[in-house]
Amino acid sequence: MAVPLLSLIVFTPAVGAAALMFIRNDDAVRWIALAVTILDFALCIAMLGGFDTSTHEMQFTETHPWVPALGITYTLGVDGISALFVFLTALLGWICVLASWVAIDRKVKEFMVSLLAMQALMLGVFCALDLFLFYVFWEAMLIPMYVIIGVWGGDGRVYAAFKFFLYTLAGSLMFLIGVIVLYLHGGETFDIRTLMAHDLPFQVQSWLFFAFLIAFAVKVPMVPVHTWLPDAHVQAPTAGSIILAAVLLKMGAYGFLRFSLPMLPEATVHYSTLMLVLSAVAIVYGGLLALAQDDLKKLVAYSSISHMGLVTLGIFTLNLRGLEGGILQMFNHGVTTGALFLSVGLIYERTHTRSIADYGGLMKAAPVYTAFLALFALSSMALPGTNSFVGELLVLSGAFAANLAVGAAAVLGALLGAAYLLGMYRKVALGPASIGMRFKIRDVNAREMAAILPLAVFVLWIGLYPKPFLEIIDASVKHLLAQVQGKGGAQ
């Protein structure tokens, strides 16, 4: 392949960010950021257009030496799993720009630069096929995200930014040690494909499994290292929350899929029950906490913990339905929770309150908005016909096959989801209009529609016809499963 398509996808936002530094006009900054993210999205569509779904091999690979003395290369490539998340990231890129169009009214340039830098780094994480390169992208994300939360966030932004930064850093540093150990045990290479083929002794696998677990569990986040998430979500600006929920949280799960499962199969099989239990705890605990929230953003944040528990549950069932469901659910969660945060952001811009108690009867004032809110709430609680239903069904059937008790916990989580989401919708949209909500609510305008409609389309598309999405990941998931069972199952 002559055109380095993945490099283009990764570095287009970075170049855009660099170019923005020289622009003074705020409106020009917004339009250029939008143009860059849409261009990036178009490149991503082109990549998917040429994507071969029949193979699990890495596609569009590029390799250049980077630090030959340590076996570090610049290698990019995607398989079905990463292609799906590259697509999700690129999609949310321009939605985030639209979401912050008027919400960010000071230091617009700096914000867009951070957003685009973030975009480039996230795409890099999903494309990297060199462990060192992966780590550089992974860790460098802390810088723009710290700035996004800390500068443009709410009142408690500084605390939230610190908490986010230190939690993630501490987790990642353990991962770094794991990476170095893996490098030295795996034949002094950082190439992910070579490392996947390498057999490690069980003892080493166990250590590495827990080193990786710390990093990925913080990112997912799994209970008990989830406490940074509600703070970060609540304080971050809308676009920051969308990025956090839709993409950043996926990286933890992606880390399990890319490293823990194929590289440490024996340890994965050995500790899968532990992971299932942790996931089940997260599902129920997150759901219970969400039930008790009055702050809209906090509610969505805790629901994220619950839903991400479902994702890790699906992954560690280690069967085909569970894995495919988990991965699809990652995508779904990105779309749905991204949309929910966007919805909360839209209404917050109008009312400047996130307290559910302040709302009521919103349906009369903003019918289109509440229709969207209903759709996303229903999607989040996995009503048939929406995207999450497909994913959740797959995960549940995988979970029951793996472990009955854990499956039951997952069902309980789904019930809780229905309780807090319907409760939230009832209080916000239905009933008599609350005092403050009677006159001043403006319905969704064209720009907001452009941001929210695509997400609604994906909700229904995956809900009604998930085949194309499952097809993308199918070959890769089967291969992944073979890797785990081939080595891990043999013990």
Binding site: W66, E110, V147
Partner: protein
């Protein structure tokens, strides 16, 4: 010594001779320069360093032992000397305006810096405990004076006095170790020491000697338990001198430590256990105490203690990669630390001391470019990719894990997570607070050049570390 050998020796030490001669000439010329013409001194000093650098690079082709085995010009020394030249030239550029503002721009200032440079160069090349001593003393004597250069300020005088007394004690300890070594082995040359010992390398007398030497050297790099002078001296000294000391003499100290520890005799005495403990404790102390500092210079002092600790981990790892990792670490540290000091020096203007962190609140609002540079240096010091600071730490960790010291690596990264807090706290102050007053940084072309150069190094080595890594690895094997 024959004439030919003498010629060879002079050739090998030509850069040192150039620097010392240049310093002497400048000392005389400085008396003739009229007031207002001081910038001439800056450029003349820079020229002296550049000539020496040219000489070093031209002689870099081969290993040249000199002065009957007391001195050697090898690739290891060349690497360190390049770092010293870099540090010294950047210090000159930073000093130009600052010296004017503080009223310390006399010729002695530049002459003393040049002499300190020559001392550091001797340290990098010394292969005998006595020539090490000469280099060490030449360096610290100059920095004693430079520390007290703000004659009107009490804290500068106090710092200099503290430094002299504590430095004197550490020198005494070092010399005592040397005398023990001489008594036990009959030589002070690093190469011959190992050969002279026939018995058990773990002879308690020898171990004692090694401990004394280690203690003397550890003082110079500011590691625990001989770190007490660092915060006071760094705070009291003129900021340009603090910048210089935090990278130059510290790197020279590490050059000596590496040379001494590469020595088979020392390596056999299990000294790495001491070094590992020193490294961990140093890093812990630097990181934790820095958390509560309000003064920028004091914070950077503790940060430099923490960084010395991290580099010490590389020494503890040992081996070719361990040595190379320390060298690369020091090179990268020179870039990022001079960068952040450049900002602090620049802020010293008028009534603004530039020393209180809170005074930087909202700096990003009015000075976007400079704030972005600060962000870069601070994240690099914290070790976040893609900056060079990350690669420096990464390579030390690789060296540690390679030698099986996984626990040390875990300690190192946990402590660097602690250290990250106080760096990003400064980022928070400059980006997330509202400004209380206007800023008026003394931004001269020389300062701009320094900042651009250090920023290019900080980001450039981070993105393209391959060439620098190879350089360090070659030089390490040469040692």
């Amino acid at each position: 010594m024959t004439a030919a050998a003498l010629f060879q020796s002079i050739l090998a030490s030509l850069p040192e001779i150039v620097v010392v001669t240049g310093a002497c000439i400048l000392l005389i010329l400085g008396q003739l320069v009229r007031k207002g013409q001081q910038h001439f001194l800056v450029w003349a000093s820079v020229a002296v360093v550049l000539i020496a650098a040219l000489g070093t690079l031209m002689l870099a082709g081969e290993v040249r032992p000199a002065y009957s085995g007391m001195f050697v010009a090898d690739r290891f020394a060349v690497f360190f000397k390049v770092v010293f030249y870099l540090v010294t030239v950047l210090t000159f550029l930073l000093s130009r305006k600052y010296a004017e503002i503080e009223g310390i721009g006399s010729s002695e200032y530049f002459v003393l810096l040049l002499l300190a440079l020559s001392g550091m160069m001797i340290m990098a090349s010394a292969t005998d405990l006595l020539s090490i001593y000469v280099g060490l003393e030449l360096t610290v004597l100059c920095t004693y004076v430079l520390t007290g250069f703000l004659r009107q300020q009490q804290r500068s005088n106090e710092a200099a006095l503290k430094y002299v007394i504590l430095g004197g004690v550490s020198t005494g300890i070092f010399l005592y170790g040397v005398s023990l070594i001489y008594g036990l082995t009959g030589t002070t040359q690093l190469d011959r020491m190992a050969a002279a010992v026939t018995g058990d390398p773990l002879d308690p007398g020898l171990l004692l000697a090694v401990v004394f030497i280690v203690a003397g050297l550890v003082f110079k790099v500011g590691a625990v338990p001989f770190h007490m002078w660092v915060p006071d001296v760094y705070e009291g000294a003129p900021t340009t001198i603090t910048a210089f000391m935090s990278v130059g003499p510290k790197a020279a100290g590490f050059a000596v430590i590496l040379r001494v520890f590469l020595n088979p005799l020392v390596a056999a005495s299990n000294v790495w256990i001491i070094v590992a403990v020193i490294a961990a404790v140093t890093m812990a102390l630097g990181s934790f105490v820095a958390l509560v500092q309000d003064n920028f210079k004091r914070l950077l002092a503790y940060s430099s203690i923490a960084h010395a600790g991290f580099a010490m981990f590389g020494v503890a790892a040992g081996g070719a990669d361990g040595v190379a990792s320390v060298m690369l670490y020091l090179l990268i540290y020179a870039f990022m630390n001079l960068g952040i000091f450049g900002i602090v020096i620049m802020m010293r203007n008028g009534d603004f001391s530039g020393e209180v962190i809170e005074n930087y609140a909202g700096f990003a609002k009015s000075h976007r470019g400079l704030a972005l540079l600060m962000l870069l240096y601070l994240f690099s010091l914290a070790g976040i990719p893609p900056t060079a600071g990350f690669f420096a730490k990464f390579y030390v960790l690789v060296a540690l894990v390679e030698r099986g010291f996984v626990m040390l690596a875990v300690i190192a990264v946990l402590l660097s997570a602690v250290a990250a807090y106080f760096y990003i706290r400064i980022v928070m102050v400059i980006y997330m607070r509202e400004p209380e007053g206007a800023f008026d940084p003394a931004l001269t072309p020389a300062l701009r050049a320094t900042l651009a150069f250090t920023a290019a190094g900080t980001i450039g080595i981070g993105l393209f570390p391959a060439w620098f890594l190879k350089l360090a690895q070659h030089a390490a094997i040469g040692g």
